[in-house]
């Protein structure tokens, strides 16, 4: 027996280009789709202004996807994201109506969502229930609560700076390139990516998703980490609610129906695995962008809604199929 096979090393050549393809896969996909649409689409798609629109339109799903990435790396799932976004907009509008300052209203929306997330985490850890079932339940509960709170109506709110968070920039603030909300998302995404990579909490999240028994054996406080992650995910959903409110300028209990699926799709397109242990913040943001680019491109080419949906679906399946193929083909470092 040669030394290499005795040691159980995979003896084939390491292919560095595949390693890089693995890391940059979603980004390359985004570049490819954008280029295709830029070449074959109408001139309006190529405009700089459209890039800004795409960034703004990806912000709501992108923000929620940052939190959902943590949950999915952990090996869990959070289906209540859409409902938490709606609840957040309703709470914000109600608080603004009662005269609260905008910052408090926004924090109120985030806080309300976070409470829902803690309930999710509590049910999953203490009662040892499946995350899918728990969050399927809270999906309905939170949506119902939002509707009840709003008396099944949209809640008008006075004009405040919250409306500008992801609105198109006025001419005098063009130097910001994109509105506050987008910058906030970039900042938070960098922070969370750093936490995942460079802190014990981040490594613990990966460890639990990769093998929960190993994490337990190594003294990881599995229950506490799960609670923190579901609460964090909800906080990001609440923040996505702030952005959603900014777009609507009213509280709407029926908004973001099914948004959880867009969010999960973004994470999965970005390389997240629903069996846990894999995923990246950058990937998920790219996933969110890919979906917006397709939507934007299709609508500007005058394609019908049903065709957009089919294309988005095909992209999701393709992305995951490619991901599996890349996994088989690469010896990962």
């Amino acid at each position: 027996m040669s030394e290499a096979t005795q040691a159980g090393l995979v003896p084939d050549k390491v292919r560095p280009w595949l390693v890089w393809l693995n890391r940059l896969g979603p980004l390359l996909g985004l570049a490819l789709i954008y280029t295709l649409l830029a070449v074959f689409g109408p001139p309006s798609f190529r405009s700089l202004g459209n890039l800004e629109t795409i960034a703004r339109q990806s912000t709501i799903v992108g923000t929620a996807a940052v939190g959902a990435t943590l949950v999915i790396i952990l090996g869990g799932i959070d289906l209540s994201v859409g409902s938490m976004i709606a609840l957040s907009t309703v709470v914000i509008a109600s608080l603004l109506m009662s005269g609260a300052p905008p910052i408090l209203a926004a924090l109120g929306g985030i806080g309300a969502a976070m409470i829902c997330g803690m309930v999710n985490g509590f049910l999953i850890t203490r009662l040892r229930m499946m995350p899918f079932i728990v969050t399927l339940g809270t999906l309905l509960i939170v949506r119902g609560a939002a509707k009840g709170l709003a008396h099944e109506q949209k809640i008008d709110a006075p004009i405040s700076w919250l409306n500008e968070i992801i609105a198109t920039l006025p001419p005098e603030r063009q130097f910001m390139v994109v509105p506050y909300g987008v910058w906030l998302l970039v900042l938070l995404a960098v922070a969370v990516a750093g936490i995942l990579r460079y802190t014990p909490l981040g490594r613990h999240i990966f460890a639990i998703g990769s093998n929960e028994l190993t994490a337990r054996l190594c003294g990881v406080a599995v229950e506490r980490v799960k609670l923190v992650v579901y609460a964090l995910s909800a906080a990001f959903a609440g923040l996505a609610g702030v952005m959603q409110f900014s777009r609507l300028t009213v509280g709407d209990p029926t908004v973001a129906m099914g948004a959880e699926l867009d969010v999960i799709a973004a994470v999965v397109i970005g390389g997240g695995s629903l069996s846990g242990g894999e995923g990246s913040i950058l990937g998920s943001l790219v996933g969110a962008l890919i979906m917006t680019v397709i939507r934007s491109g299709c609508s500007q080419m005058g394609l019908s809604n049903w065709l957009q949906e089919i294309i988005t679906g095909v992209i999701i399946v393709l992305a995951v199929a490619l991901d599996r193929w890349r996994h088989r083909a690469t010896v990962r470092y």
Partner: protein, 269 residues
């Protein structure tokens, strides 16, 4: 033998000097098994636990390490007493090697470095952060000391052979710097070369080669291994742990007889 080793070479045995008792257990009982376990483990010794599969040996180790609940009994470990969860056990200086390497011992989808350092991620960088280069240096160092054949600390554990995987799992305990090692079937399903390395390591640890003599609790179903590496051996039968006797007082036959509950019958003959 295939690899040209004699039995003596496979089981190296230096003079072990048993020190003060570091772990004392009396009448420990879990939910179903173990029914009753009493033992005293000293620094500088390897205490073997024999018995049939299902006798409650693994359950005993897990209860001791805080992975399973304890129903009754007293445990004193160093200056700590009572039941502690795994995180506390690690802090107190106790480490456990799982019998199920693939499903519990290692997160095989994660890197060698992550697996090796998972129980002690503190101190790998400034401000409690993990510096990749520091983590990799630590992993390279310990993987080297245990002879883990690998390409890079970032390599997935799944890509290593069984023996090398087990050495990574063991390296975790050594990197953590525990005083008491609970080893559950440490050589199951691994190649002979790795086995020999692990036996040599066990011998070196209790003689205090690197840093102070450690104490080892070794659960094994392979009798020659118990007789070859342990100082004392106790037999578990239907959830009860018998008295620990010097390894010279045991033979494979007497261990087996005790394990199936016929120990008394043998002696009276």
């Amino acid at each position: 033998m295939m690899v040209g080793r004699t039995v003596d070479e496979l089981y190296p045995r230096s003079a072990h000097i048993a020190g003060e008792p570091i772990l004392e257990i009396s009448d420990l009982a879990g939910n179903r098994v173990p029914g009753s376990v009493s033992l005293s483990l000293r620094r500088g010794e390897v205490l073997g636990i024999a018995g049939l599969v299902g006798a409650g040996r693994t359950e005993f180790i897990r209860a001791l390490f805080g992975l399973d609940p304890v129903r009754a009994g007293r445990v004193r470990f160093g200056s700590f007493s009572g039941w502690s969860p795994p995180a506390a056990r690690w802090r107190q200086g106790m480490g456990m090697l799982s019998e199920d390497r693939k499903n519990e011992g290692l997160a095989t989808g994660m890197s060698l470095a992550d697996n090796l350092t998972l129980s002690r991620l503190g101190g790998l960088g400034p401000l409690g952060l993990i510096s990749r280069s520091r983590q990799f240096a630590v992993a390279r160092d310990w993987a080297g000391r245990l002879g883990v054949r690998h390409r890079s600390p970032a390599q997935r554990v799944a890509d290593l052979s069984g023996g090398n995987q087990q050495k990574v799992a063991l390296a975790r305990l050594l990197y953590h710097g525990v005083d008491v090692l609970l080893l559950d079937e440490p050589t199951r399903g691994i190649d002979v070369a790795s086995k020999a390395q692990i036996y040599a390591l066990i011998d070196r640890l209790v003689t205090g080669g690197d840093a102070g003599a450690k104490a080892i609790l070794l659960v094994s179903s392979y009798l020659p291994e118990l007789l070859g590496t342990c100082d004392r051996v106790a037999v578990m039968c239907r959830g009860r742990l018998g008295p620990a006797r010097h390894v010279k007082e045991w033979t494979e036959e007497s261990l087996m007889a005790e394990a199936i509950g016929m120990g008394g019958a043998m002696k009276s003959e």
